[in-house]
Symmetry: C2
Subunit: 196 residues, 2 copies
């Protein structure tokens, strides 16, 4: 489930208090790469201490007969560890490729790759997938066989999914700029899916 | 933007390390209510120290001409504060109503409301919306007027939204159980939208 998703939430300590920042990520083998689009002070702090990275997929709204049994169907992974700042340019390129391809398969080969300067300006963290806990809730509401079933109320699940809207071309594009073929491949699966 | 959303991510300290848990929430005035569907030890810890609650809406994938300029369009709010455990039954009912109606408007009046026992078994936190920071990124990629524009590559935004799937009735429902009218109202707006 970590190979699917658009953002994770990185929890870290900043000046003794927790801070939770969303960031894009990618997974290669047993390593998770996190992008440094978050405040650099967070990344600096993160590289010295344990963090918690949480990936959450909300799959549905559970409508039960009682308010008490309402809830969500979801999958959630929490990964704990001390992240390692990626400094080797080769690994940085690998991490960026993994990250880019998880979000937009095909873009790595299509777009201009990072220059040395851009690479140096990119913060990337690697986190080993050693310590993780996973929580999952699936299925119908839990009060279908209890006393509340006699209430005669409708109950069930409203599935939730992420989906793409129509691609919006950059207004700065010269008219007639062709849409690359891999765009259809990206749009053919839900956001954050790996289609390889 | 806090009045829209399915889950937030609650960051707190547990035994000195950060922990990030997804949880449902609702907003009433300048108070955010968080549900205690997370581990109770987290809630206990949360009620004694500063937490960070992050609400993230991913709005689109920004496909630029260069890998470096790739990113997301998003809206993100981070709220800091010391949460207050809600113990007063009247406020607990209010908080649960806010939370339920944010996710599923109409369900509060339709479903069976919490009993005293259920209410006592429900953990709810209140967080004042005093200290928050908001980050937003919108619009096309940033390299439309730079040297990369000459590459002739397609660039733009792929919008991302959450949407409902078809309602899945609980298999335990007696055949012929009517779908309540407010279900269509819930399904007429994206998940987590308030339709009131």
């Amino acid at each position: 489930m970590l190979a699917v998703g658009v953002v994770c939430h990185l929890g870290l300590l900043v000046d003794g208090d927790p801070m939770v920042v969303p960031t894009v990520y990618g997974v290669a083998g047993d390593t998770m790469y996190l992008h440094g689009s978050v405040a650099s002070r967070s990344l600096v702090a993160a590289s010295r201490a344990t963090v918690c990275v949480t990936v959450t997929h909300v799959d549905g709204l559970v409508l039960a007969r009682s308010v008490f049994e309402h809830g969500l169907n979801y999958r959630c992974a929490m990964i704990y560890g001390v992240p390692r700042p990626v400094t080797d340019p080769t690994e940085k390129l690998l991490g960026l490729r993994v990250l880019t391809e998880q979000l937009a398969p095909g873009q790595w080969d299509y777009a201009r790759r990072p220059s040395k300067k851009e690479l140096a300006a990119t913060s990337l963290l690697a986190l080993a997938l050693d310590e993780a806990s996973v929580k999952v809730r699936t299925g119908p509401p839990d009060d279908g066989d209890g006393p509340d079933a006699a209430l005669g109320l409708w109950a069930g699940v409203l599935p939730i999914a992420q989906s793409w809207g129509d691609a919006v071309p950059d207004p700065a594009l010269p008219s007639g700029t062709a849409r690359p073929g891999h765009l259809e491949r990206i749009l053919s699966s839900p956001p954050g899916s790996i289609t390889k």
